[in-house]
Amino acid sequence: MRNETEMRQAALLPEAKRGVVSLSALHPGEQGTVVALAGGRRLLSRMAALGFTPGVRVTMVQNFGHGPLIVLVRDTRVALGRGEASKIHVRRMDSD
């Protein structure tokens, strides 16, 4: 389930950014392309080393709407907290 804050954030985005959501908004099985990463340098660097960089395709593996997520990125299954996931902005693959 997409939660309310995420819905509101999506609504506030300008036209060009439509389809861009936080990673935690993807449903299991859905794919997206990373468009931007936010956060401190340390977190960015860890994300990059685990495979998250702009342009990479990610597949949501597990997302129950609460608790940590599992994402497939560069053939690696990565578990991450919702807080960390909210710093990764993705474009839904089907919304182009």
Partner: protein
């Protein structure tokens, strides 16, 4: 003339089978220590090939070489400062794309690289087709396909090491370049720092790390550049503070070209073994049930194998040894006999009898880690651990504490963030270990009769509540609520490698035995001496005097000096409390002791004593490993002070509460 011994460094990301390869190459010719001044494990060994001796240094497993963690700094400093003759990068063939990221970071460093493409069998199972020769041509470095667990490719790797170590002329790697849109900036930085980069850092690498915003290198150059130049560099860096992501993307673009040439990917939709297993193992309900079953099994193993073995050790090895010493020393000075029998064998022996339980816990931890399950356990427990400002990875070490606090503290090595690791170590002694439970199991029936079970469960619950509250408190105050980001790899499952696990159990046990022979021995003898000097009787000893001195602290809970002394001697091993009470109350038989105690102390005092016993400072073995793993006396003393305070507050609180309800 003897030939120079060549140094080979072993690098790789976590979960790629690096330890397995290290053990395979060195066998028993290895030595485990710590990196100088750090609490990170350092393994070093030797192997012989082609009549030449090689020194193999295992670098910490890291995903990248940016100064994010101590491990990353250690790995890159070793390569830059010690200049190994060869660096072997172990990569998991099934996650090659991400693994090549470390290769992209290693190639600009001044040491020739060999890529050991491990777990080729798993990659094949997952549907990847990899052509090592094509990859070799694309990278310009030797690529050796391997299955380290099955001994496949080891000979080829050794031959490659031997070749590269002795003939550098052919070494011409194709190094990754920074993305086109940042090449100008990089060139500008390099011009500015030219001539100012201290030895032995490579200049182009320093420029790249500056652009990436690497904290350590930024500080280094700020110190070495004249102020004006630093200002110019700083201005450029500030304009490009997003460069880190660009540099990382550049590396993946380079990797992408390598991969496209050498790897055929599985068809989309192919479901691997890992995905099928994870549907259960990471499910919020089934995952918890699976974890609970595994933990239950671990306890079952401990009680059916560990506990009887512990008893056997106690009776036959420690008991007989004490008897033998007593007979042998019968003719000599009585104090010598007492020192050896009661002080050394009694103290260290009690600690040593825990070895079977430790071995079981080390083996379970090692197996779960090696199979790749540990990350799943961390994942399903993450929500719960959040409450204490920790994340899932702290759960298993804490769980191990129920067996013994020693493996709990050692088990925190799986936690990357120092802050989370320290917090977990601070909380570990609050887990009631088997020895504490043994004391409770003896005293609770003596004091509370039929309500003993209820009291015992209540005490465990209390300890866990205190643990959770302490977690929240320490996190909020000492660590100011910071929390390490929860982002971790869920590695592919594979069959456990018994050699790797066996080696781990052996090394951990050996380290514990060494501790028992040094620090634990020293403290045991000291406490024993305090309990015997000056008159040879515990009732008139220094320890008793200390107990009397501290009586006022205990009086708030109705304790007398004898209970204080019992607590003090529990520092050697928790069960000592009972033995001490036995001596102080002059009861030879434990049954007699139970009645005497029940007659002497009121129910609130008895309850308070059990509570304090439960939350008191841990035994000397645990303190020794806390010191070892934190690498700091300050944290060790903080832990002791904190536990003293917590146990006293809880004891006094429950004593008065019991009074109020009229127990």
């Amino acid at each position: 003339m003897t030939e120079k011994i060549h140094t080979v460094a072993l690098a790789g990301q976590p979960n790629v089978g690096k330890s397995t390869l290290f053990n395979l190459l060195t066998g028993l010719n290895q030595h485990v220590g710590n990196w100088p001044g750090k609490t990170v494990e350092r393994k070093e060994g030797t192997f012989t090939y082609n009549g030449r001796i090689y020194r193999l240094v295992d670098l910490p497993g890291t995903y990248s070489l940016t100064a994010n963690s101590v491990e990353e700094v250690i790995a890159r400093d070793f390569i830059i400062k010690e200049r190994p003759d060869v660096v072997i990068v172990v990569a998991d063939a099934a996650t090659l794309e991400r693994n090549l990221y470390l290769v992209a970071e290693l190639l600009p460093l001044p040491a020739p690289v060999i890529l050991a493409l491990n777990m080729m069998d798993v990659a094949q199972q997952e549907g990847f087709r990899i052509e090592p020769e094509v990859l070799e041509a694309a990278l310009g470095v030797r690529v050796v396909p391997m299955v380290a667990t099955k001994n496949v490719g080891v000979h080829e790797l050794l031959a490659a090491i031997d070749e590269v170590a002795h003939d550098m002329d052919d070494y011409a790697p194709k190094r990754p370049e920074v993305r086109a849109d940042h090449q100008d900036v990089l060139a500008q930085i390099e011009t500015l720092i030219e001539g100012y980069v201290p030895e032995p850092y490579p200049q182009d690498w320093v420029a790249l790390k500056l652009l990436e915003g690497d904290r350590e290198i930024t500080q280094l150059m700020q110190e070495h550049l004249p102020e004006e130049r630093w200002q110019s560099v700083y201005d450029i860096l500030r304009q490009h503070d997003d460069a880190m992501v660009a540099v990382a993307s550049g590396r993946y673009e380079w990797i992408g070209r390598m991969i496209r040439a050498a790897v055929t990917r599985p068809k989309v939709g192919q479901i691997g073994l890992t995905e099928r297993l994870d549907r259960w193992a990471t499910h919020p309900l089934w995952g918890l049930i699976l974890l609970a079953s595994i933990l239950g099994l671990t306890f079952w193993l401990t009680y059916t194998i560990g506990a009887p073995l512990q008893e056997l050790l106690d009776t036959y090895v420690v008991g007989n040894l004490a008897e033998l010493a007593r007979i042998r020393l019968a003719g000599g000075a009585p104090w010598l006999s007492a020192l050896i029998v009661d002080g050394i064998i009694g103290g260290v022996g009690a600690v040593l009898t825990f070895l079977p339980i430790l071995v079981i816990f080390f083996a379970v931890m090692g197996t779960l880690e090696d199979m790749g399950y540990m990350a799943r356990a961390a994942y399903v427990m993450d929500g719960f651990m959040h409450l204490m400002g920790l994340h899932g990875k702290s759960f298993l070490p804490l769980f191990l504490g129920f067996g013994c606090n020693v493996p709990a503290v050692l088990g925190t090595r799986v936690i990357e963030s120092r802050r989370a690791r320290l917090l977990t170590i601070m909380l570990a002694p609050l887990i009631p270990c088997t020895a504490r439970m043994a004391v409770v199991a003896f005293l609770a029936p003596a004091f509370f009769g039929s309500a003993a079970t209820l009291v015992s469960w209540g005490l465990i619950l209390l300890a866990l509540v205190v643990l959770a509250l302490s977690g929240v408190l320490i996190n909020k105050t000492v660590f100011r609520g910071q929390r390490a980001a929860f982002i971790m790899e869920l590695p592919l499952y594979h069959l456990p490698n018994w050699r790797t696990i066996g080696m781990l159990v052996w090394q951990r046990s050996l380290a514990f035995l060494k501790k028992a022979g040094t620090l634990i021995l020293l403290v045991s003898v000291m406490v024993w001496a305090l309990s015997m000097l000056p008159g040879g009787e515990i009732e008139t000893s220094f320890l008793a005097r200390i107990g009397r001195l501290m009586e006022p602290v205990g009086r708030l809970m109705g304790f007398d000096w004898r209970l204080m002394v019992a607590l003090l001697t529990s520092f050697i091993a928790k069960e000592n409390s009972i033995a001490t009470l036995g001596v102080l109350f002059g009861a030879d038989q434990e049954a007699g002791l139970a009645e005497t105690l029940a007659a002497t102390f009121s129910a609130p005092t008895a309850l308070a004593f059990l509570v304090v016993q439960m939350l008191f400072i841990p035994c000397v073995a645990t303190v020794a490993v806390i010191r070892q793993e934190t690498g700091s006396w300050r944290w060790t003393l903080f832990s002791l002070g904190f536990l003293l305070l917590v146990s006293w507050v809880a004891g006094v609180g429950l004593f008065w509460l019991a009074h109020l309800v009229g127990l």
